[in-house]
Symmetry: C3
Amino acid sequence: MVYSASLNVRSTKNRDMIDITGDVAEVVGSSGIADGLVLVFTTHTTTGLYINEHEGGLVDDVESVLSKLVPPRAGYRHDRVDDNAAGHIQSILMSPSLVIPVEGGRPVLGTWQALFLAERDGPRSRTVKIKVMGE
Amino acid sequence: MVYSASLNVRSTKNRDMIDITGDVAEVVGSSGIADGLVLVFTTHTTTGLYINEHEGGLVDDVESVLSKLVPPRAGYRHDRVDDNAAGHIQSILMSPSLVIPVEGGRPVLGTWQALFLAERDGPRSRTVKIKVMGE
Amino acid sequence: MVYSASLNVRSTKNRDMIDITGDVAEVVGSSGIADGLVLVFTTHTTTGLYINEHEGGLVDDVESVLSKLVPPRAGYRHDRVDDNAAGHIQSILMSPSLVIPVEGGRPVLGTWQALFLAERDGPRSRTVKIKVMGE
């Protein structure tokens, strides 16, 4: 069994971390699939997905580290085409694709795990594809 | 067909790399699934998964690079709440979730590939969820 | 339903970014699976997979950032065994494994998304495993 959905996620800042845990859980609940897995996939090249704790200080720390590792406008060739190379490369350090187990009709996440869409070139409207597979 | 299992993994140091390749292969073997995929998922926010060579020097190098890229106690806001921000952020540079092909009832790994649970805030007892799907 | 294929990918330089988007789409098309997901998995420890824009300047930028974050021959212990530690560690910052949704018999990728095999220790012949699952 395969169940599909799309999330429309609107970022409100140039760099933004948006918690989509609840949206993904809702899609899994609607799928009627009790046991299997859920694929979450962002269709953009300046966003990434990551799973970690939703604590405001930590979210800011993740921002700081991404900007330190891949600083904006550090002489990138792609910035001559489009002023967002750092956003592309930061996205690669995360992932476009995450797969989470499903049990009892819910994504199996640990107590502190939340799923974030990391916007690296907003504000924009973004599409996240979801596939639930199982039985 | 979906087959599920959990691994209990005990780390013995604050930062520890634990090879779980054999445990995952054993679960796949028990599943009765010959052809498909296996999802390995850590339910924690200060652990990550990675696949690479199990050579002692290289495992130490991975440790060094993670500590260089995201040094412990470098003024993180999350350290005011809980003294482990670097462990959270290092985990994001790896992944909570890896999917491996299954053929002939075994995970398809290359000659040098081993699967590690990277502990970033131990020693602790950790839970890794495994889902085998296929036919 | 499960459909399997292998790609043989030949890199031509020591560090090389090879766009395999078309090859993966072709496998999905051949699978007869309309709706589900495709797993792309590299069986090597000095290659990684990433999805991002195929613009020449950006591909060079990704190279530069990987070399800045994990510089070759920076005193790694593994270099005493085999002179390629940086290639292993750069691979870990990407992923060995990516899962992409499939709809209408095609991988669902955004306008600017291309899938790259990042060679970090070539030139070599590389094997990428593909599994399409769905209905």
